[in-house]
């Protein structure tokens, strides 16, 4: 029972923070609206782009190559998930894990060579 109380109290703090987080910006924005003068004209309604005149739509389509790069990145990035525990427990695992990891990295290298030959790594 005591555990449950403790558990609920923990969430009480979370709830208080949630309320604070919601109220704070609301109050701040409302105060600002009360204090500031209101004099609109056309130039004020344009999109602010660091002082440069905005010249096209704000929604830009990315080149599809970004996705290919992102896919490559995700694959190789996630594979390091296996390298990390091995590196941490290297002393304990010994030669067996070393051999296994060499095979694993070799497979990754083959994947990289594949991407290279298929010209995925080139931008143009």
């Amino acid at each position: 029972m005591e555990l449950l109380n403790l558990y609920q109290n923990n969430y009480l703090i979370v709830f208080v923070f949630l309320c604070l987080g919601v109220i704070l910006p609301l109050v701040a924005l409302y105060l600002g609206k009360l204090l500031r003068p209101y004099k609109p004209y056309d130039a004020k309604y344009t999109t602010y782009e660091s002082g440069i005149e905005p010249f096209h739509d704000s929604r830009v389509q990315f080149n599809v190559r970004y996705y290919i790069f992102a896919l490559m990145f995700v694959i190789f990035d996630v594979e390091t998930v296996f390298l990390y525990p091995w590196a941490v427990a290297y002393e304990k695992l010994g030669i067996f894990a070393l051999i296994e990891m060499l095979i694993f990295v070799l497979m990754l290298v083959i994947g990289l060579v594949y991407a290279w030959k298929k010209k995925v790594l080139k931008w143009t």
Partner: protein, 104 residues
């Protein structure tokens, strides 16, 4: 601080799984569907890690399993997105209900 009971984790995983399943079955946009599938797989990860820490017989195996699930999920998402790109090049849509070439 281990005051959070195991049932809370399991409930979280179950809710996450149900949200993912709902999203995967109802959304139109394929990217959202793929994200929903990731959500379901991450619910599995929460389950596995919870059991590996607070389960009947705590052991590291659950975390190892979770690592494998993470990598496989990444591979699956990559394959899914690659196929989606190929499809988009031919069909110019990512909406599931417009993939209607095959039916009968």
């Amino acid at each position: 601080m281990s005051s959070v009971p195991i049932s809370a984790f399991l409930a979280l995983a179950l809710i996450l799984f149900c949200i993912g399943l709902y999203g995967a079955l109802t959304k139109r946009n394929t990217v959202i569907v793929l994200i929903s599938i990731e959500l379901m797989l991450n619910a599995v990860n929460i389950n596995l890690v919870t059991f590996s820490k607070y389960g009947v017989a705590p052991a590291i195996t659950g975390q190892v399993f979770a690592l494998f699930v993470i990598t496989v999920a990444a591979a699956e998402a990559a394959v899914g997105l690659a196929i989606l790109i190929a499809l988009y090049r031919n069909r110019k849509t990512v909406n599931i209900d417009e993939m209607d070439q095959l039916q009968g």
